[in-house]
């Protein structure tokens, strides 16, 4: 009964989305009396789809093997956390989670949105319902998560062991919440294009959603990067894999949008551009989800390939994005010109920021789709990897951090280059010292790592410069947020540069008892022993790493899962204040020797610490903005 109730809730939610769209369209076309009905419908729709998702979770927790999705993706012997996370660790479940968050987002807009004029709010909710409707149709007609199987088998087929990790419980929901936040920005943009009300009010209404989405995407990418780092056992933190790019592209667009929305809110400039970016940001989320889910790109993150479902989502994409872009082309010329500004000004720096982010987005999108385009046209196979992305996006990213250092130190509307030079004097001096240090003292190879270290030093100082001369107690929270986020970028950049400049690697076939050297560590291979887990068995190595008086024990494993039979490596990582020792156990050569991969990665943790700082900065800014809005409303 639970599964049937879930399906019924899903159908009802879909019907309400249709009603929400219909009422909204009628209200905008002269039947204004229907307008007030739109908000309650949106709230009930959100509640019903959330109920459907809760029921699917229940079916998974109870290991109901009469539901096909549970059979394919779960197993009664699995720990409960993975049964729970297994709900969205598959195609159907993750799509249901997607629409659930979409529906709840729409309900939140219906409940909370008070700034916008009535017509734009209705148009926004109608656009949100239109997006939801497509995905309801997709779920109900092409991927029903509640389908029964008869006769019910005794037990399920398990879950991809690579995904049996606590990170899985939180990674997709975080990214999806981010995507849906962008869908709301998209709906606002579409609503404003329909009614022609593109202005500071729109920007202020949109900003918390963009900011919230951006924080979650930042966390999602940071966590995803760390997950790939320790779970895949390859020692890298970013692979320019299509799935990673799919999560990076919406972030790039959202970051650009975050900055342009500020210009629109503060200075009423960049009107059409901001609306365009809001459309692009959500489009990138959908294109990203599509590329990942359709399986048309080859990737380490293997998902089921199903061309029929792929075509369905592609049609949805074409309608939503194509429709929004056509609306933009038709209506953008009626959007009023914004307030003018000089090239040397805060707005000017933010325009450069936006252009650079858009260029990097273009580069990543091109690199991700290029293999597909070439194979379609010539049948030739190729892959685009780190050398392309590093060489093209790397220099632009460095240019971007320079703008990031200068932008917050510029005044709105117009400023003087000379004055900027004075404000940047200390960061520039630090960067010059860093140049001397990097070239004279450190044995660094490669241009990008060196530049990365130098720039990191300079912007670390420049990012806190906006606090100079302010009363720190009275500095608004959103300024603190910006400072911390920008400082986080410097921290992350330092980690990336340090990782690529100083990592030491040792790859050997070693016998128990041998001692190996990696960087400053000497690692003794004590031996291997078999261990058994709940649904896997493993060979575990014991390593003793010594550096001076420090003695660490590491136990990397090679695991064999039994349902389905799969082998994975569990790396063992020891985190020290100065870096990480990363160890992986490989195969035995059958002759008493074992493959061991050891890395010493100085300061590598700064990469993710920086990402976390960026997200914390975003959270402070969000808090500050929301408090400010509330105060404004109270007045």
């Amino acid at each position: 009964m639970i599964a049937e109730a879930g399906l019924a809730a899903l159908w009802l939610a879909a019907a309400l989305a249709l009603l929400q769209l219909g009422l909204g369209a009628l209200a905008l076309r002269g039947h204004a009396a229907l307008g007030p009905a739109v908000r309650p419908v949106a709230v009930v729709q959100g509640a019903l789809v959330a109920l459907a998702f809760a029921l699917l979770i229940l079916v998974f927790l109870r290991s109901d093997m009469s539901v096909a999705l549970v059979v394919e993706n779960s197993h009664s012997a699995k720990p409960w956390l993975y049964k729970f996370a297994g709900t969205w660790g598959n195609h159907e479940g993750s799509m249901l989670m997607w629409v659930t968050i979409l529906g709840l987002g729409g309900a939140a807009v219906a409940l909370l949105e008070r700034r916008l004029d009535q017509r734009t709010a209705i148009a926004t909710l109608a656009a949100q319902a239109a997006i939801g409707l497509g995905f309801y149709a997709f779920l109900l007609f092409a991927s029903n998560p509640f389908a029964r199987i008869s006769p019910a088998p005794a037990d399920g087929h398990g879950l991809n062991p690579l995904l049996q990790d606590p990170g899985l419980a939180f990674h997709p929901p975080t990214l999806y919440l981010g995507y849906v936040g962008l869908s709301i920005a998209f709906s606002y943009a579409v609503g404003a294009l329909i009614t022609g009300q593109v202005g500071p009010t729109l920007a202020r209404a949109m900003r918390p959603w963009v900011l919230g989405a951006w924080i979650l995407l930042t966390l999602g990418i940071t966590a995803g990067s760390y997950w790939a780092y320790y779970e895949l056992g390859w020692g890298g933190w970013w692979f320019w894999d299509p799935v990673e790019n799919a999560s990076l592209m919406p972030w790039l667009a959202a970051t650009a949008l975050l900055h342009s929305v500020t210009v629109l809110a503060t200075r009423a400039a960049l009107r059409a551009w901001t609306v365009m970016l809001a459309v692009v940001a959500f489009s990138m989320s959908m294109i990203g989800t599509f590329l990942v889910r359709s399986g048309i790109l080859t990737s380490v993150h293997a998902f089921a390939v199903d061309p029929r479902r792929g075509s369905f989502i592609l049609v949805l994409l074409a309608i939503y994005i194509g429709g929004a872009l056509a609306l933009f082309a038709l209506r953008a010329s009626s959007v009023r010109e914004g307030a003018p500004f000089e090239p040397v000004s805060r707005e000017g720096a933010l325009v450069i920021n936006n252009l650079l982010f858009s260029a990097i987005l273009g580069i990543v999108l091109t690199g991700t789709l290029y293999p597909l385009a070439v194979e379609t046209m010539t049948g030739e196979k190729l892959s685009v990897g780190a050398p392309y992305f590093d060489a093209t996006a790397g220099p632009l990213a460095l240019a971007l951090v320079v703008v990031m250092a200068a932008g917050p130190l510029l005044r709105w509307r117009r400023d003087e280059l000379k004055a900027l030079a004075v404000r940047l004097a200390i960061p520039a001096a630090v960067a010059i010292v860093a140049i001397a240090v990097v070239f004279l003292l450190l044995p660094v190879a490669g241009v990008l790592p060196r530049l990365g270290l130098i720039f990191a030093a300079g912007i670390a100082i420049a990012s806190v410069a906006p606090l100079a001369g302010r009363n720190l107690r009275r500095t608004p929270l959103h300024i603190w947020g910006m400072v911390i986020a920008h400082f986080g970028i410097a921290v992350s950049l330092a980690g990336m540069a340090s990782e690529s400049a100083f990592t030491r690697e040792t790859l050997v076939a070693a016998r128990p008892g041998e001692t190996l050297a990696v960087g400053p560590w000497s690692v003794r291979f004590v031996g291997v022993e078999p261990v058994a887990g709940p649904n896997w068995t493993a060979i575990r190595a014991k390593l003793e790493a010594r550096r001076g008086d420090t003695l660490l024990t590491l136990a990397p494993e090679a695991r064999m899962f039994n349902a389905p039979p799969t082998e994975t490596t569990e790396s063992a990582i020891a985190t020290r204040p100065t870096g990480q020792l990363y160890t992986v156990l490989g195969k035995s050569d059958g002759d008493g020797r074992w493959q061991l991969r050891l890395w010493w990665k100085p300061m590598v943790t700064l990469i993710w610490a920086g990402g976390a700082l960026v997200a914390i900065g975003g959270a402070l800014a969000l808090l500050g903005r929301l408090r400010r809005e509330r105060r404004r409303e109270a007045m």
Binding site: S283, S294, I296, T298, V305, I321, L325, L372, E375
Partner: protein
């Protein structure tokens, strides 16, 4: 400037077109060797088993033949063995390149699954396999009398592939 506003839509249409064609023609996962239609690289492999002579490029003169890349540890190779015997009975000369194998394992494999090979070279570190542009076992190449690769077959040879391979051998004569 008005036409510029249509640019995003045009770019998006382009992306959709590429992705759509990618969906309609699902990518094949096979990676063809770059050497098809080109002469084999030089190589000289030691014998894989004492019972068979070794294999070098110089041995390939004469008529067309099939070079089969296989290994005793490879399950699809055992599955494909009967089809190789069919090809042998049809008069095809088959040479084997055994990948990362041991003589005793190879001898057991031949005893168990049949022996279609006239020569077997041992490629202990896959160097020749990689030089041929082969990405796995089993794989087979039809090579003509001048040492030019005429056909690459990726994966095990099944019953339905036999006519294609015989035709390629015929064409290479």
């Amino acid at each position: 400037m008005r036409w510029l506003l249509w640019l995003p839509l045009a770019l998006f249409a382009l992306i959709i077109a590429v992705v759509m064609s990618g969906l309609i023609h699902p990518a094949s996962t096979d990676i063809r060797s770059q050497l098809v239609g080109k002469p084999l690289p030089e190589f000289a492999l030691p014998a894989g088993v004492p019972s068979h002579p070794p294999l070098a490029k110089a041995d390939l003169r004469g008529g067309p033949r099939l070079i089969n890349i296989f290994a005793s540890w490879c399950l699809p190779c055992a599955v494909e063995a009967p089809q190789l015997m069919v090809l042998k009975r049809a008069g095809v000369v088959i040479d084997g390149i055994a990948i990362r194998d041991r003589p005793e394992d190879l001898a057991a494999f031949l005893a168990r699954y049949g022996d279609p090979y006239s020569r077997i070279g041992s490629d202990a570190n896959s160097r020749v396999q990689l030089a041929l542009g082969s990405s796995g076992v089993p794989e087979s190449f039809v090579v003509d009398g001048r040492g030019v690769i005429r056909l690459q077959h990726i994966g095990d040879i099944r019953e339905e592939n036999i006519p294609t391979i015989l035709a390629a051998i015929e064409a290479a004569k």
